[in-house]
Symmetry: C2
Subunit: 223 residues, 2 copies
């Protein structure tokens, strides 16, 4: 075997150097708050489209970090996004991440109300943790329901809106972002079709690592 | 709210029609075996790069479907890929999916051998299920270890090699694919930097749904 088995920390540093260099070549330089989020999403997807797709309301990153530091939980729309969030990071912050989509109560409520489990899960999350960080990587219907709830007065600490797909996805993200801007709710949204559970988890992890000060101090490339 | 809440099956059909139409516009038409895999990965990522990135050894899809029908388990490299695989599909096939990366024995073995948990997990999987479907969405070191093991005689039913990243990833996938071709091991690999846990899960699900005949018969676009 000719390829070396690198240490994970070395791989991360080298990857970051490549990402930063290629962003520079594209003429893209990010502010100190959003850079770690954009770079971690590119690190997770190897897709530089996210350098342009990711939109932030002003102060969204700081709001997410502050919320995590005060123990605010993250609620995801899929068990896959939940599985991707750093458990050591959450533990260091003394907080947690949850997902209601497989909850039997949510399934029953969805059936009774003739809606999807994703929508019923948002209702449950809004009732249980009205000030949570809501991370949506899959279901545009969840994002639309969050937008409705925000219009009705819900104030999550942050909405991460990055569902992926071809039907209702682009529109749901535009609507969520507009509603968040209007109502002063912090939001991080991947405009366009792209996104997914790995993107949702990557954004959560960027915030978790920043909040918990778990970034490798040698990997200065994150900023 | 002006956007409609579509039914999931309708969304899938419409998404497939869009994907098929855009692939046609790109002049890309896939054989009946690989089309459902390529389309499901694009459906999961909204990234048409996979139309060119995904490489298949001859008969790889049929080998994966046959293995699943005979109850072969899927072993993934991350809990995130594991979380993304359809549990109803696996149940219908009477098989299962596993991930050893969080196994305490694997952590101990990695520490003792001075290697990564991803590598130790491959060793455990190879010992426990030498004829499994191996799905790697994250760790290039896992893919390199699988390549070594195949050279040493391991014969998995199928290797799904789709790690994502900037260091060792491109090379690990090229090496795995070459070794699989040489040794007659079926493989599905996303060449280049792109991939990830969602891609690994999407490929597994394309095979699971085909094997379990769970494709919506109205969604003819899958082929």
């Amino acid at each position: 075997m000719t390829l070396q088995h690198h240490l994970p920390a070395d791989i991360e540093r080298t990857s970051l150097a490549i990402i930063t260099e290629e962003l520079n070549q594209m003429g893209l330089i990010f502010p100190e708050d959003t850079a770690p989020v954009v770079k971690r999403v590119i690190h997770t997807t190897a897709d530089f489209d996210y350098a342009r797709n990711l939109h932030f309301t002003p102060g969204a990153v700081a709001a997410g970090i502050a919320a995590l530091r005060s123990g605010t939980p993250i609620v995801t729309d899929t068990t896959m996004a939940l599985a991707g969030i750093s458990k050591p990071g959450l533990a260091k912050l003394g907080t947690t991440a949850l997902c209601y989509v497989a909850d039997p109560e949510v399934a029953a409520a969805a059936k009774q109300q003739g809606t999807t489990r994703a929508v019923a899960a948002v209702h449950k999350a809004a009732a249980a943790y009205p000030g949570a960080i809501l991370a949506v990587g899959n279901a545009p219907t969840a994002l639309l329901t969050i937008a409705d709830q925000i219009e009705a007065g819900l104030r999550p600490a942050l909405v991460i809106g990055v569902p992926v797909g071809f039907v209702n996805v682009v529109e749901s993200k535009e609507r969520l972002f507009a509603v968040c801007q209007e109502c002063g709710v912090p939001a991080i949204v991947a405009m366009g079709r792209k996104g997914g559970s790995t993107v949702a988890a990557a954004i959560c992890n960027a915030l978790v690592y920043s909040a918990a000060e778990m970034l490798d101090p040698r990997a200065r490339g994150w900023k």
